[in-house]
């Protein structure tokens, strides 16, 4: 399984829920929640990314155009939205 790990404070989760949760749901990422600088919880995706061979990936099913475009947008936005705990 493949996880990228981000951190967010409880305040950030409250203020920016969509921005923090979206990479978990659509990007296969993991978010560690912190409170007063200490990790207190972890949000993990229900659909984790699994590393496979190219042949296995192609055989995994069909690839919708929308899913390709979403992956591109999320990859681009992920670079600029990556969270760093204060």
């Amino acid at each position: 399984m493949y996880f990228l790990s981000m951190q967010a404070t409880l305040s950030q989760l409250h203020r920016e829920t969509r921005r923090i949760i979206r990479p978990v749901i659509h990007g296969g990422e993991e978010v560690v929640l912190t409170d007063f600088g200490k990790p207190v919880a972890r949000i993990v995706p229900f659909m984790p990314t699994v590393t496979v061979s190219p042949a296995q990936a192609r055989a995994s099913g069909t690839l919708d155009d929308d899913h390709i475009l979403a992956a591109i947008i999320e990859a681009r936005e992920g670079e600029s939205e990556r969270l760093v705990a204060p």
């Binding site: 659509h26 659909m47 990314t49 699994v50 099913g61 690839l63 919708d64 992956a71 947008i73």
Partner: protein
């Protein structure tokens, strides 16, 4: 000569073909590798279940070598990129991640592409007068 964007080259890879000629930006390789080795792609199994799959860096590098092998790389200079940013600021709806697509369009125009091959017909229609094509095996 056709210009291929990242979406077209991900589609080509999934369907097992590669462009026999054409052009793209060097940054297309970065996006292609970033997606294939990072977030991965979401596949729909015959039973409707979605599964997210990515590739190891070595597999992705090998696959990229094959998919991009016949393409010529054309890149805007730093100054041309800044000029593209200024132009984008005068256009409606070109912001955020869309700017990457605008750079695809500007590169295609600057280097005389005859068309842009992409899955993103809607956004590119706002950015260029070049002909747009859905990716199909040559």
């Amino acid at each position: 000569m056709k210009y291929y964007d990242t979406s077209a080259l991900l589609r080509a890879w999934k369907e097992g073909w590669m462009p026999l000629e054409g052009m793209t930006r060097s940054h297309t390789v970065a996006e292609w590798i970033s997606i294939q080795t990072g977030r991965g792609l979401v596949y729909r199994a015959p039973d409707g279940q979605l599964a997210k799959r990515n590739l190891s860096p070595s597999d992705a590098a090998r696959e990229a070598q094959r998919v991009f092998s016949k393409l010529v790389f054309r890149d805007l200079s730093g100054q041309q990129t800044l000029e593209a940013a200024a132009l984008a600021a005068t256009r409606e709806g070109i912001r955020g991640s869309n700017f990457h697509d605008f750079l695809h369009a500007r590169t295609a125009e600057a280097f005389g592409a005859t068309s842009i091959v992409t899955l993103n017909l809607v956004d590119f229609r706002m950015m260029t007068n070049l002909q747009l094509e859905h990716p199909v095996q040559p």
